[in-house]
């Protein structure tokens, strides 16, 4: 019987393309997942107006995960428009949150402006833990664990960052 955190992490692995060992390692002093899950739950519930949407998303993921499907197949099934607009949008926002460390808000088009997306940084920790830096094989501005002179060498392969 999986719990919300298990499903949240599993779904995040599928949708982000990063391994579980990177997103939620067994020894996890950063523990960004514990910051993201409440943000995801609260914002999706508030924005959709549907108190059961998050549970539906996790239930759907758990059902797919119990079948013999590849992560690619699970991801495609989660993003299938047949799930409904709010469902798919929540999944896409989950991806945004992991990559940007921020929660996105879509601003509809107006008579004078095109639709756009703005985002609110979740926390300082989320900023440094966001996956975009890993994809860049780099580090956040103002926060580097690399050693002096690292720029003199090529970064390790992307697969070492994604864990895939």
């Amino acid at each position: 019987m999986s719990n919300d955190m298990d499903n949240f992490v599993g779904l995040s692995v599928v949708l982000t393309g990063f391994s579980r060992e990177v997103l939620a390692p067994d020894l996890d002093p950063v523990d960004i997942k514990s910051e993201y899950l409440p943000v995801f739950t609260a914002n999706v519930t508030k924005e959709s107006g549907d108190p059961s949407l998050v549970a539906d998303i996790f239930q759907k993921y758990a059902m797919l995960q119990s079948q013999t499907l590849t992560p690619q197949q699970i991801g495609e099934a989660m993003l299938d428009p047949a799930n409904g607009e709010a469902f798919v949008l929540a999944c896409r926002k989950l991806i945004f949150m992991w990559y940007a460390g921020a929660w996105p808000t879509i601003v509809p088009a107006s008579a004078t402006a095109q639709a756009s997306t703005v985002s609110d940084l979740i926390s300082a920790k989320a900023y440094t833990a966001s996956l975009v830096w890993q994809v860049m094989q780099s580090h956040p501005m103002g926060d580097s664990n690399y050693r002096y002179g690292y720029w003199n060498k090529p970064p390790v392969p992307l697969s070492d960052y994604t864990g895939q």
């Binding site: 390692p25 067994d26 020894l27 996890d28 002093p29 890993q134 926060d143 664990n145 050693r147």
Partner: protein, 436 residues
């Protein structure tokens, strides 16, 4: 992935009980006090968790603290004829280590061989070793003791720390013989030697197979005894307290023989499974209250409960001058509370120390925490993803406590930036920057 926690336990883990849920529980037997420096951390839970490993590392820290503060023979080896707390005022093991001032000499001169005396600053030459106070016999082993305290600014130069007597706290950094030998053999004590070496430093780590102790660094902080400080409550020694004109503009050289008490104690130990080193920090229990909590002690070493206008955790205004007769004390609070598990471990070790001597000075020291790499072999994070993320000693990182990355104190994140004078990685020590 779990870090490789291999090796042989050199200390008794059987005395710390593990509950049914595998979380450490209240010990029913006292921890063993041994002069054996542990060479590696032993996991007591399989598979380990973050909490269980933190506990294991904290036990490693306490065992290290006990062994390093064990009464020593004249050659610095532990005196196995006594137990810690029994030989008050005799030198302890780590005092035989080499102080940084005696390694990195003017002009890049070679340091004296291990165990031999190093020259004192000329201004200290007026001190007559024949007329030292009682209990200072170890000071005659000049080269083997940290007998000169010449640093009045915190190790990261964030500012001096002023105690409740209005006096500057003093600091010293020392290395053990293995670390000293690596520096000496590779001539890393001088800029020219480092230039010729031209490689990343890689200090020897402890090895459980060969039973060899690896590199250990000690960082200490001290306050002058007297006034509000009762020497019976501190581990004390007599030291030549030197006001170093090179530290701050306007400081006049001065050297005074003074009884000092230990208030802060860092241990950094490089082990085979933790190439980022294991970082342990201890403090005197009276140093400072925890922020957000009501002060519980009648008096503190670096906090005045009656001072409502004192700014907390801010360095004193310049000019800084340790020669000043009195300076307004700094107001220090601990920003990150000691965890309940560490408090429980402190209580267990205090019980064991009290069983040896009810008035042992070591009852007045507590573990703050231990920082260790959760993923020592990470390919993308050379710091090994430390846990806890932040760790500070209120006497050694007073002004950089907190939770902000790259700003607040993190042993490994900070020392990961350390280089030699040529820009090569210096293996988590800033000491090599002191080469001249």
């Amino acid at each position: 992935m779990f870090p490789l926690i291999a090796g042989v336990s050199l200390f008794s883990m059987t005395q710390i009980l593990v509950a049914a849920d595998n979380r450490p529980s209240t010990p029913t037997a006292l921890p063993t006090l041994t002069p054996q420096i542990p060479l590696e951390v032993t996991s007591t839970k399989n598979p380990p968790t973050l909490d269980s490993l933190q506990h294991d590392f904290d036990v490693f820290s306490w065992q290290s603290f006990i062994a390093l503060n064990w009464p020593a023979n004249a050659d610095g080896t532990p005196n196995t004829g006594v137990t810690i707390g029994q030989a008050t005022n005799s030198p302890v093991v780590w005092e035989s280590y080499r102080e940084s001032r005696d390694i990195f000499l003017p002009g890049g001169a070679p340091p004296a061989p291990w165990g031999q005396e190093s020259p004192l600053p000329p201004v200290c030459k007026n001190i007559d070793a024949k007329h030292l106070p009682p209990g200072t016999m170890h000071l005659t082993q000049v080269g083997k003791t940290p007998n000169v305290l010449d640093e009045s600014g915190e190790p990261f130069k964030t500012g001096p720390l002023i105690d409740q007597n209005g006096q500057y706290a003093r600091f010293a950094i020392l290395t053990n013989e293995q670390m000293f030998d690596y520096i000496d053999t590779n001539k890393l004590y001088s800029k020219s030697g480092q230039k010729a070496f031209d490689a990343n430093a890689d200090f020897p780590s402890s090895n459980t197979k060969s039973n060899q102790v690896g590199s250990i660094m000690i960082k200490t902080s001290w306050v002058k005894m007297g006034g509000k400080f009762d020497p019976a409550k501190f581990y004390t020694t007599y030291a030549l307290v030197y006001d170093n004109p090179a530290e701050e503009p306007g400081v006049k050289p001065s050297c005074v023989l003074t009884q000092v008490g230990l208030v802060g104690f860092h241990i950094a130990h490089k082990t085979a499974s933790e190439p980022q080193w294991v970082w342990s920090t201890f403090e005197h229990v009276n140093n400072a209250p925890t922020a957000g909590q009501k002060p519980t002690l009648p008096a503190y070493n670096f906090f005045n409960a009656t001072c409502t206008s004192c700014k907390v955790n801010e360095p004193p205004p310049r000019p800084w001058n340790p020669g000043t007769a009195y300076t307004q004390p700094t107001q220090i609070e601990r920003v990150i509370a000691i965890t309940p598990d560490a408090q429980q471990l402190n209580a267990a070790y205090h019980q064991a120390l009290a069983a040896v001597s009810a008035d042992s000075v070591w009852l007045n020291y507590e573990l703050v925490s231990t920082q260790w790499p959760t993923n020592a072999k990470s390919k993308t994070d050379p710091t090994g993803v430390p846990a806890p993320s932040f760790l500070a000693n209120t006497t050694l990182e007073s002004y950089i406590q907190g939770h902000v990355k790259q700003t607040s104190s993190s042993c490994m994140a900070c020392h990961n930036n350390a280089t030699t004078t040529t820009g090569n990685f210096s293996d988590f020590t800033y000491l090599l920057q002191r080469a001249q």
